[in-house]
Amino acid sequence: MSEALLEARRLVARYGSVEVLHEIDLGVAAGEIVALLGANGAGKTTLLRAISRVVSTRGEMELAGVSIVGWSGARTARAGVGHVPEGRGTFLDLTVAENLRLGGLARTREQRSSARTDLDQVYATFPVLADMRRRAAGLLSGGQQQMLAIGRALMARPRLLLIDEPSLGLAPMVTRQLFDTLARIRDEWATSLLIAEQNARLSLHIADRAVILTGGRVAAAGPAASFRDGDVIKRAYLGGGTRK
């Protein structure tokens, strides 16, 4: 692993009295794509929300060597953590262009000058958004809203982009295209990606590494290639965890 961008150690999160993440260790290196796999309820969404500091946790978490424990969600976002939430977080009454502009408002002063070219780049990555820039975001299809959510997060120039269930509600064909785009985004936007996804096959295809969650614990972690035969994954999804 090259230099660590995100480093979480012994991360514990609870909703009320229920502990949903148990002592999670997770690292994401600069420029890396990590697939976060696991069944429904394994804790993927909570882990992403913990990283963007909208769920409070115990344990340590560092972004590029700086501890972000105790930071607010807004501050973490401004430090370069982009988050495309489950359900896409679309601002339905805002136009496509306004959604994207909103994404760029959290930029640092130095990044502001490049906002214009970044917007062009988002439109180049997702040409369909350019055609619909004046349309209310609520009128977009599911796939288009997913592209908009990713484009909006990119407008903040994230160092780390968290994406929650990008394939949710999308046709298989659209999903495949989306994952191809995600692989390109890493290079074109110089960002790391952490993708929580139920579709293991597509995620492993573009990921460098994979982390598998079961019942709020890391069941397995390693190079994506090592999971492609599917055994560990099957066990994780069928609820067996690491037990035999």
Partner: protein, 293 residues
């Protein structure tokens, strides 16, 4: 014919007050997603603040400017101290709080300034304009111009500036706005500040006509709520149009419908509102999908 036009014009003038108040309600609704029953009393407080400055010898427009700033600060303070504690508690506690604020402000104003009516000078003078047999007082003309100016300013703010974009974003989807680095609390506070400032303009438009009492805006607030319902609270233009329609309906019914003279005429605008809402639940210009209340 001239008389009908004159009645329309007078109705429009009284509708301006409701429209201005409905505009303030709409700004809070759009900026924070909540209905603020205390909007009227907050506006009345702005009028008293203006009057205090006037009596201290401050020129009118300076006094108004200061009162608008103080009102904005007061609005922000109310959000920070009262509203934020109830964040996430649901709509009922928020509504209850705003009613409590209505009663509380009313009581405080009654203690400080008594309930005696006070004359409030018209910033536009006592002039009378006549054309083609129609009359308008300078106050009416000035109020109309003020309303249009405030509407234009809020439209620019909400639609053309990044502040407005953030306000709308936080009101619509606070969780998603946080993930984009927007400090939710800061922008909800700004929404309250802007609405209080709009309300201050409304109070200064209303006070010379209604004479200033602590309860000056209590009744207009009911009509402004009806205006918001009629025109659509999710649309600023809708809220103002609703206010004007209510003023006009009130005036025309009082003049032309037998038996509905005097205070009874108020039945007409509420009947109109009921009919419109039955046909278009979101109001004339409102959007069906609304944000959180």
């Amino acid at each position: 014919m001239t008389e009908l036009l004159q009645q329309l014009l007078d109705g429009l003038s009284s509708g301006l007050v409701y429209g201005m108040l409905a505009l303030a309600l709409s700004v809070v609704f759009q900026g924070t997603g909540m209905l603020n029953f205390a909007q009227g009393e907050m506006a009345t407080l702005s009028a008293y603040a203006t009057l205090v400055l006037l009596l201290a010898g401050v020129p009118f427009w300076v006094a108004l400017g200061l009162a608008v700033l103080v009102s904005a600060a007061g609005g922000a303070l109310i959000e920070r101290v009262l509203v934020r504690r109830l964040e996430g508690a649901g709509e009922l506690p928020l509504l209850t709080m705003s009613v409590a604020l209505l009663l509380g402000l009313n009581a405080v104003m009654s203690i400080v300034w008594t309930t005696d009516p006070r004359t409030f000078p018209s910033p536009f003078g006592d002039g009378l304009m006549e054309a083609a047999g129609l009359r308008m007082t300078a106050q009416q003309v000035g109020s109309l111009i003020t309303l249009v100016a405030v509407m234009a300013a809020t439209a620019l703010l909400f639609n053309r500036t990044s502040v407005g974009l953030r306000l709308r974003a936080v009101a619509q989807n606070p969780a998603s706005a946080t993930l984009l680095g927007q400090h939710q609390g800061r922008w909800l506070m700004a929404g309250w500040a802007i609405a209080a400032a709009v309300g201050a303009f409304g109070a200064v438009v209303a006070a010379p006509v209604l004479t200033l009492t602590p309860g000056m805006m209590t009744f207009p607030l009911l009509l402004a709520l009806a205006a918001g319902t009629l025109g659509g609270l999710s649309s600023r233009v809708g809220a103002v149009v609703g206010g004007v329609l209510i003023g006009v309906a009130n005036n025309l019914a009082g003049r032309y419908v037998p038996g509905l003279d005097g205070d009874l005429a108020i039945v007409a605008p509420f009947a109109l509102t009921a009919v419109v809402v039955a046909l278009r639940p979101a109001g004339l210009l409102g959007r069906t999908r609304t944000v959180r209340v």
